[in-house]
Amino acid sequence: MRPLTRSLLCTFLAAGLIQTVPALAADAETDALLLESSPEAVPEAVRDTRLFVEGMVGTAGQRYLPGNRDLWRGSLDFSHTARLGSGWRAVISDRLDRIYPTDPGVDSTVNSLREAYLSWQPKSANAVMELGRVNLRYGPGYGYNPTDFFRDGSLRTLTSANPFALRENRLGTVMLRGQGLWTGGSLSVAYAPKMADRPSPDGWNLDLGSTNNRDRALIALNTQFSQSVSTQLLAYKEVDMSPALGASLTALLSDAAVAHLEWSRGSEPDLLSRALALPGDADARNRFAGGITYTTLGKLSITAEYQYNGFALSQSDWAALGTTAPATQMVYLREAQRRQELASREAYLIYISQKSLFLKNLDLTAFLRVNAGDHSQLAWVELRHHWPSFDLAFQLQQHIGDRASEYGVLPDRSVAQVLGIYYF
């Protein structure tokens, strides 16, 4: 083909394409205009009640014993809000878990009454009063929340290592709470009295001994400085302890990036003294979590978080504990878990979520916790597919590290489980 003919042909083809592409787009638009909506749902009937059942089967690879051990769990999760008129509401939220296997002395059937309270909002809607078991949670941190002052003892059952899923099982604290709201801010005051001495191993007990075993009070001031920055200041006091202070901040850094910071300072015994019930001195120390979340246009969100707990064992103290009294390492880790505390002085968290991975309704969530002292790691990954009323998930968890490390000392080396959740 001669050059002139070839270039003429190319020109015609290009001109043809330029004409065709808008025509195709116009065809697609005309096709779109032929589509019909789904019938409208009747939200009134469904919006006040939430109910789902969840089943899990799994296996755990053991570190100290040969072979694997089987795991299974069945759960029923229910919450409901009843409107009583004149701004009054009653809220109830409950979860029933049947778990196998369980730790010695712990019931295999555990009922967690997470919330049961009365709420009143006057017509002006600038105030809220609540009385009963309320799940009051603070802090923007992903994996560690120093300003979440009502977190200790609030987890009755551990069904996931995912910090977000863990919070779903959390027990509320019985309290009287008032909140005043104004444009761009609010002030909340809560008082939680002592109602029992110690936690109950009875699966059907309300377990007020876990959440209300001492008198406590919290004041929280929320201020929005601009559309990009908001803060919370908190003051917390419990009986026989010095007041603790906390602050948190979230900021929009760009179209795709958000930062969060969370800090608290209090005077209390260190975590090991608490774990071993030793009369430790109360020292003033800090707790901190700070991170950045970045989201790509490809539906991938990545969070990197640094965590610090001044009350936790330093790496050298942890190593010394492993040498002198290795059994106490597990006691210490259990106490850290019960209090939802960071067991190491410093740690890192990488949290990733990818929506629509290959398929529209397939989501990937994964995180990696790293102990900054001994470099042991907890890796967790979940693939979850959604159908209209059903979720199917596969989870894999790996504890990586040598035997003297935080994650390497745990009795399970790995956990694999399949979950099915049906939403009514």
Binding site: A28, E29, T30, A32, L33, L35, S37, S38, P39, E40, A41, P43, V46, R47, R50, F52, S79, T81, R89, Q121, A125, N126, V128, N135, L136, R137, P140, F164, A165, R167, R170, Q179, L181, T183, G185, S186, S188, N222, Q224, Q227, S228, Q232, L252, D255, A256, A257, V258, H260, T293, T295, T296, L297, S301, K360, H386, P388, D391, I421, Y423, F424
Partner: protein, 265 residues
Amino acid sequence: MTKKVPPVFMNSRVLSFALFVLGPSLAWAAPSAKEILAASDAIRNPGRPFSVTVTLTEFQAGKQVDTSTLVSYSRTQPQSGQFASLIRFVLPARDAGKLMLKNGNDLWFYDPASKASVRLSPQQRLLGQASNGDVTTVNLAKDYRATLLGEEEIQDGERRKRKAYKLGLTALSPDVTYASIDMWVDVENNRPLKARFFAESSRLLKTAYYRRFQPQLGAVRPTETVIIDGLNPQSVTLMRFSDYVARTIPETWMQRDFLPRFQPE
């Protein structure tokens, strides 16, 4: 001898005079681009606080792949003149009770199960279906400079030919979701008919058709929006609006700390 004024010159002088005298009143008579846009905003959105049920139906290549329902509680913020919205997810059951707050760039997602309020970046919010509300519940006249580009005959959402003003909208600040918008507004009644939403890179993000106009809260408003993905025209979302209700929605509700307490009647 008097110089004869050529008729053409005389005519132009008369015309200039006429334009000088009548010009302002002619300009007064023809609506400005900003006025057209504001009138079109007022048709899409009630001027008082309201709630509306939104049914979203997603299609891929003409096949329905997903459906969801949410209720949006919106009010105009006195300082910005812009809409703030609290969106409560209703269906599917998995998402029931979850909330999203949009007050300008103050974006929060609240999950009642984990009690977690998470600040979102605008890009993070664009991943979800709630962001499609931006093509509907927004006062464009507040955030964009409008230019009248002319009049065109276009196909509307009901596939009928309509004569429309074509408006070119450019963002007044970088904070808004879309850098520029092409908007077609019915010349007869200022109804929004169609819009194309562009990113800063001039990439087409969405095309929207407003249709099924019905009387709702004191005006004839579009009760369905067809949203066609800019990159993949085979990806289409229909947003059906029903149950418009005028409500008392205090400004104090539009903040993060109220999300755990939000229990609308």
